[in-house]
């Protein structure tokens, strides 16, 4: 033992206080387990500090200004001035409220909080190096460990993050002035959400994407609605091109891209935001000490109880693989701890819903039509265009549609794809439907409040039964 070291013991040791880790810790406290949560940086992890929350805060605030400035048709004449530093400081307040809330909730549930960087030191021990020089370190013995160290932005060759010219989402969410121009590398959900924010703030946004469409993880007709709107906002898309290098030029930079034929294009901009994906944080954990290896992508493989190959070690959240979404990590955190406590819990959910907070939003759950067919279902599909929704028209936002996919025999709802205002909220009902094994008839028979966007869910379901009222059935 190193001089100055303290050794303590804990039943459940959790590394990382993001959504996966802190939810696990709170649930452990609720189940009266002796639990210790180690965090090296900030309670709430990526999600609360540099991800979900700050991005949604800026998206919502930007919309307030943008909506008012584009509402002449509604009889509203406004020319809002946005002070980005002010907006970011408001966003920081929101983050502070939530992260200090997480800390308080942990304490109230009896979680031991340890600040520092943990790495495995032996089969049942971690060493935690406290931040700051001379702050020493401690060794903690554990019965069970939960790895919840999350992910970091992936860099691409020649585009090392410098926080100034080449930035990741983290810096993009903390700028104090609106850039005049921005190249966004990657049209995944993070790239698209941020492109939309900056385009609405007046930045000249160019999106460069290696694949051939925006939001390539989504079906064409879903992604197309978002892309069209983005183009209306002035976003310039370049598909089939990869960013290859950059140089300083005058006040800004020039980014070079290359397509598959080797053709080079150049884009000038103030900054480049690289948002090409995220990679798990497992390389800094000294996993060898517990005899655990990652897969090729650096992820930890887990079973349906969130257990890794090492019996008493669990992995939750982004380190445990796709989908890298906060709510997936939270569920895994709960299950890991419940399993440790001896409860009959398992990761037996049918689906992890996903949302993209673009304009309009996307919300999906369960299978697409194609996935359902591949899984061997004979499917029936129903759709409702938002332009036929009374509520959408009263909001002045009628792009998009609701689609439901069901099995044609019994009518079980298998999945849904929504691209519409509030799609992130509308998907909740269909998430419950998928988990419950609800049928088309179950949702159709449920009275939906008028006038709401949620009626479009009912109409899509009715359309699958050839009984939609507000759209033609075909």
């Amino acid at each position: 033992m190193v001089v100055g070291d303290v050794t303590t013991g804990t039943d459940v040791l959790i590394i990382g206080a993001g959504p996966g880790g802190y939810v696990a810790a709170i649930r452990a406290g609720q189940l009266d387990l002796d639990v210790t949560l180690v965090e090296k940086e900030a309670y709430g992890g990526t999600c609360l500090n540099h991800g979900c929350i700050p991005s949604k805060a800026l998206i919502s605030a930007t919309d307030v200004a943008h909506d008012a400035s584009t509402a002449e048709e509604m009889g509203i004449h406004a020319d809002p001035a946005v002070d980005l530093a002010g907006m970011v400081s408001w966003k920081d307040d929101v983050v502070d409220q939530l992260t200090s809330g997480v800390e308080k909730l942990c304490k109230a549930n009896g979680v031991n909080l340890v600040e520092g960087r943990a790495e495995f030191a032996g089969e049942n021990t971690v060493r935690v190096a406290h931040a700051g020089e001379g702050q020493g370190s401690e060794t903690i013995e554990f019965e069970h460990a939960i790895v919840a160290t999350g992910s970091r932005p992936m860099a691409i060759p020649n585009f090392e993050f410098d926080g100034e010219r080449i930035i990741s989402s983290r810096e993009a969410l903390a700028l104090d002035a609106v850039p005049e121009s921005l190249v966004v590398v990657g049209a995944g959900y993070i790239g698209m959400e941020l492109s939309t924010v900056f385009a609405k703030l007046g930045t000249d946004v160019t999106v460069v994407e290696m694949l051939d469409s925006a939001l390539p993880a989504y079906e064409d007709d879903v992604a197309r609605v978002v892309k069209s709107r983005a183009e209306e906002l002035g976003i310039d898309f370049h598909f089939g091109e990869g960013a290859s290098e950059w140089v300083e030029s005058g006040d800004g930079i020039t980014i070079k891209t290359e397509d598959e034929d080797g053709e080079i294009s150049e884009f000038g901009a103030e900054k480049a935001l690289v948002a090409v994906g995220r990679e798990p944080v497992t390389d800094t954990l000294n996993l060898d000490a517990i005899g655990l290896a990652t897969d090729e992508g650096g992820f930890l493989e887990t079973d349906d109880r969130a257990r890794t190959d090492v019996e008493n070690v669990f992995a939750v959240g982004d380190v445990a693989g796709e989908p890298m979404l906060a709510h997936k990590g939270m569920k895994e955190g709960e299950v890991a701890v419940e399993v440790i406590a001896g409860e009959p819990s398992a990761l037996d959910y049918q689906s992890v819903p996903a949302a993209v907070f673009t304009d309009p939003e996307i919300g999906t759950v369960g299978m697409t039509e194609e996935e359902a067919e591949e899984a061997g279902f004979s499917t029936v599909v129903g759709e409702m265009p938002m332009r036929a929704s009374g509520r959408a028209l009263t909001l002045g936002e009628s792009d998009g549609f609701v689609r439901v996919v069901a099995d044609d025999d019994a009518g079980f709802i298998l999945g849904a794809q929504i691209v519409a205002p509030e799609a992130s909220e509308l998907i909740a009902e269909l998430g419950l439907a998928v988990e419950m094994g609800a049928t088309l008839e179950d949702v159709a028979a449920t009275i939906h409040t008028h006038p709401t966007l949620g009626e479009a869910v009912m109409e899509a379901v009715e359309n699958a039964r050839d009984r939609a009222i507000h759209t033609l059935n075909r």
Partner: protein
């Protein structure tokens, strides 16, 4: 049992509470013929299946070795 499973991919249609109950009672929910619409498995079906399994078990242990 029916050779033709009513659902593709071995997917079982049951509420989360029924799925949890099956784990708790140690029955394979995939082997239960649900009584709900389209064969949806209810908590009641799970309990019945667990009872049946117990009876088979007990008969087994009652029978002379």
């Amino acid at each position: 049992a029916d050779e033709e499973t009513p659902t593709a991919s071995g997917r079982v249609f049951a509420a989360p509470s029924a799925r949890r109950l099956a784990r708790e009672l140690g029955v394979d929910i995939g082997s239960i013929d649900g009584s709900g619409p389209g064969g949806r498995v209810s908590e009641h079906d799970v309990r019945a299946a667990a009872e049946d399994a117990k009876e088979v078990d007990e008969e087994g242990s009652d029978s002379p070795e």
